[in-house]
């Protein structure tokens, strides 16, 4: 189990795939751990990528700072990991909290990455997201990690994913519960106490950017991704059909395929962001469909865009 050293803390990471290949670095969501990217490692390595995953400070097998974990420290840890990858092209993807960390990285170290994929991400705390975050933190404090998981599972995953697991949810939750500590998760949540919106800084992101958003993402809905699409110059927004906030868990094959195709397009100089809005296929390998012209992608019902 290799570790990077950031100050007094150790960050556990894993590298897979050929050393000289283009690399994908994947950043966990707040309650996750790097093993959850296992399917992505397999899929992306089979397509010729190198894959780097790690536990954020406060997560899994990385050190868990006792009182404070700043988001700047997470960005620095990510910077260390990317420094381990040599000089080849690096694509950076992250889910939810990890998506936020990738945005911060792209703003500060944009020259180090060839492409960016924020997934279920946000650049600011809308009133809904802030209040939901506060409620989740209270849930963690009063009910522990298990109760937080109880809140997140139905919020972030579909009925079709949950239904076959209903009799076995404790087993689904167990590894996350074992590996994550309440005070460390709380520290990660409390890293938002001094959060400042990244929205004004998004135009600094020069890397090609594919923004992925689940069709039914309740926690970070379309409007938050729209902020990214409008702010990041070379971006496209891709809506994942029938998907919720944690679609990287639920639709790993499709998402890994989208990541690979994005990187291949960028490397072949075929990528054109154009702030376009796309609908992803239902399955890996299918075609992307442009969002129907004239309709408002921020609405859940087919409402025609107001003409300006």
């Amino acid at each position: 189990m290799p570790f990077l050293t950031h100050g007094a803390h150790r960050v556990r990471y894993e590298l897979d795939g050929p050393k000289d290949a283009p690399a994908y670095v994947l950043v966990n969501g707040l309650t996750q751990y790097s093993e959850l990217w296992g399917a992505y490692r397999d899929a992306l390595v089979s397509k010729g990528f190198r894959v780097a995953t790690f536990d954020l400070l406060g997560q899994g097998a990385s050190d868990k700072p006792e009182l404070f974990i700043s988001q700047d420290d997470q960005v620095e840890a990510l910077h260390l990991l990317i420094g381990e990858l040599g000089g080849g092209p690096v694509f950076l993807g992250g889910i939810s909290f990890g998506g936020l960390i990738t945005l911060r990285y792209a703003i500060e170290h944009g020259d180090k990455i060839a492409g960016l994929v924020p997934m279920s991400a946000f650049a600011e705390l809308s009133p809904q997201l802030m209040l939901l975050g506060n409620a989740l933190r209270t849930g963690l404090i009063l009910g522990g990690t298990s109760y937080l998981q109880d809140l997140l599972l139905p919020m972030n995953l579909s009925d079709s994913w949950l239904k076959p697991l209903l009799g076995n949810l404790d087993a689904v939750k167990r590894q996350g519960w074992l590996i994550n500590d309440v005070y460390a998760l709380q520290n990660l949540m409390e890293s938002f106490l001094d959060f400042r919106p990244l929205t004004p800084l998004l135009p600094r992101i020069t890397a090609p950017t594919m923004i992925l958003n689940g069709e039914f993402d309740f926690l970070t809905p379309r409007s938050l991704h729209e902020t990214l699409r409008l702010g990041i110059p070379d971006s496209s927004l891709v809506i994942i059909p029938n998907a919720y906030h944690a679609f990287t868990l639920e639709k790993a094959a499709l998402t890994a395929d989208l990541l690979a195709r994005f990187a291949e397009d960028v490397l072949a100089k075929r990528w054109q962001g154009n702030k376009a809005v796309w609908i992803a296929p239902d399955e890996a390998g299918g075609n992307m469909i442009p969002f129907p012209a004239g309709y408002d992608h921020l609405r859940a019902i087919p409402v025609q865009k107001a003409t300006s």
Partner: protein
């Protein structure tokens, strides 16, 4: 070395020697917190947040009482030496950089509480097939659950604006207490054939 307690007996219970050692350690640690709170709790509360300290005192005592009754005890001749070592470890420590001795002692008690409630996760030692109705199992789950609530008082105090001017010293004190508690916990677990990678790694770091 295993990650979880066991092997379980035919009734899916934890072996009595493992129960005895874990309960002894937890009684020592939570008992120390109860004693320190009893000594330092003001007779007349002066601030709202101090009401939490009164609750803490009684919950720590409850944990001790619960373990006394829920554990299947067996004689263990290593305990007197180990208990002495633990009790010595919990004694109040000076905190370099903080000259106000009352404040330093309060920070040290909070740091020890943070470490005991945050770094020790007894329920995470339970295998999946353990009896859910066994009193010792229920006690470990209850202690871990209560710890995540009890630690809130320490978090509030140690992260408070009041301590901003001495934040570096506070962080060092908390890190030190965590290192100490993790090391003792890891040693105890190693003595009953358990290793938990994260705890060992952080104890060694």
């Amino acid at each position: 070395m295993n990650q979880f307690l066991g092997p379980l007996d035919s009734a899916q219970r934890i072996p009595p020697l493992q129960q005895t050692r874990i309960a002894s350690f937890l009684i020592s640690a939570h008992g120390a917190l109860a004693k320190q709170l009893a000594i330092n709790l003001p007779g007349q509360l002066k601030a709202g947040w101090q009401t939490e300290l009164n609750a803490q005192l009684h919950r720590e005592a409850e944990i001790v009482s619960l373990l006394m009754r829920a554990t299947s005890w067996v004689p263990d001749f290593t305990l007197p030496y180990q208990a002495l070592m633990w009790e010595a470890a919990w004694l109040p420590k000076a905190i370099p950089g903080i000259s106000d001795q009352v404040l330093a002692m309060t920070i040290d008690i909070a740091a020890l509480g943070h470490a005991v409630h945050g770094a020790i996760r007894p329920a995470a030692l339970l295998p999946e097939d353990v009896s859910a109705d066994d009193p010792f199992v229920v006690a470990l789950r209850r202690i871990e659950f209560e710890s995540s609530r009890l630690i809130q008082a320490q978090i509030r105090f140690l992260k408070s604006d009041e301590l901003k001017p001495v934040r570096a010293a506070v962080s060092t004190a908390v890190e030190g207490r965590h290192r100490q508690v993790r090391k003792l916990w890891a040693e105890l677990l190693a003595g009953i054939g358990i290793t938990r990678h994260a705890e060992s790694a952080q104890a060694e770091a």
